[in-house]
Symmetry: C2
Subunit: 163 residues, 2 copies
């Protein structure tokens, strides 16, 4: 995802709603989309303060709401206590999450069949799908078989898309 593209879309969103472009909002958006990693509100606050130490927690929360409302960011439930935010829906609008109960890592995946099936089920029940989410908790095969899990040794972001 090009950061510039996100910035453009967010500015368009602000303009459309008669809201203002501020350096704080820009800094927070940049922090949110700097990597593909998921984050909590507090983690985003930390990142944003590295660029502008005066950024307040309140502004982070307020900007997060705007980002979710604009559709740029999605709120996701990883089964942890607090809310996580996912910046990868622009590139992969229909992805889902697999959470490893051993590695504690999150693997994003896409699957056309499951999308289609969800659509069918929803229509059969008399509804029109608007938003779908799948969360799978799973244990690592590799760990069970070889006593170690390669994912644990990785330094890369935990949320690459696999197919």
């Amino acid at each position: 995802m090009q950061l510039a593209h996100v910035q453009d879309r967010f500015e368009a969103f602000l303009k459309e709603k008669g809201l203002r472009h501020t350096p704080q909002r820009e800094g927070i958006v940049n922090s949110a989309f700097a990597t593909t990693e998921h984050f909590t509100a507090d983690e985003l606050w930390d990142r944003a303060r590295r660029h502008d130490a005066s950024t307040s927690r309140a502004t982070v929360y307020r900007t997060l709401s705007l980002l979710v409302e604009s559709g740029l960011l999605h709120e996701i439930d990883l089964g942890k206590e607090n809310k996580h935010y996912d910046p990868n829906f622009l590139d992969h609008p229909d992805h889902n999450h697999l959470i490893c109960t051993d590695c504690d890592k999150v693997v994003e995946f896409e699957d056309d069949h499951i999308n289609l099936l969800e659509d069918c089920i929803t229509r059969r029940l008399g509804f029109k799908p608007t938003r779908k989410m799948i969360r799978i908790e799973a244990s690592c095969d590799e760990l069970k078989r070889f006593g170690a899990c390669s994912r644990n040794r990785e330094k890369e972001p935990s949320c690459e898309i696999e197919e």
Copy 2:
């Protein structure tokens, strides 16, 4: 679900862990499984106090943890701010939730195809599935077409299983 069966299983769980059977715990379990409806911790507290007015919020939270740990109750995320609990997993271990964005009602559904597909995807990614959840947010067809939604007029519990 026979309430007696739940009570038995919960007592077995307590015994196994060296925990005690108390009237408060019994009352909370009865309240949780009195209907098939989902509930929040506070709603459960209300119900439990109808039977024993002295039941404290703290004990409700502590008992909820035990019920989830024992597998009798599942924590679910309905997209609302707080956690909801679902007592229907004993009868329907693999059910999922469709949340109507118009009616605000929750329809539970099961589908073998989607279960199988989730399993395949998980194994393909190198994992062994332990817990899967699907949440679909959808709008009501009936409402869109006829200007009214029959679900809104229903008084029945909102979480019947449909196939």
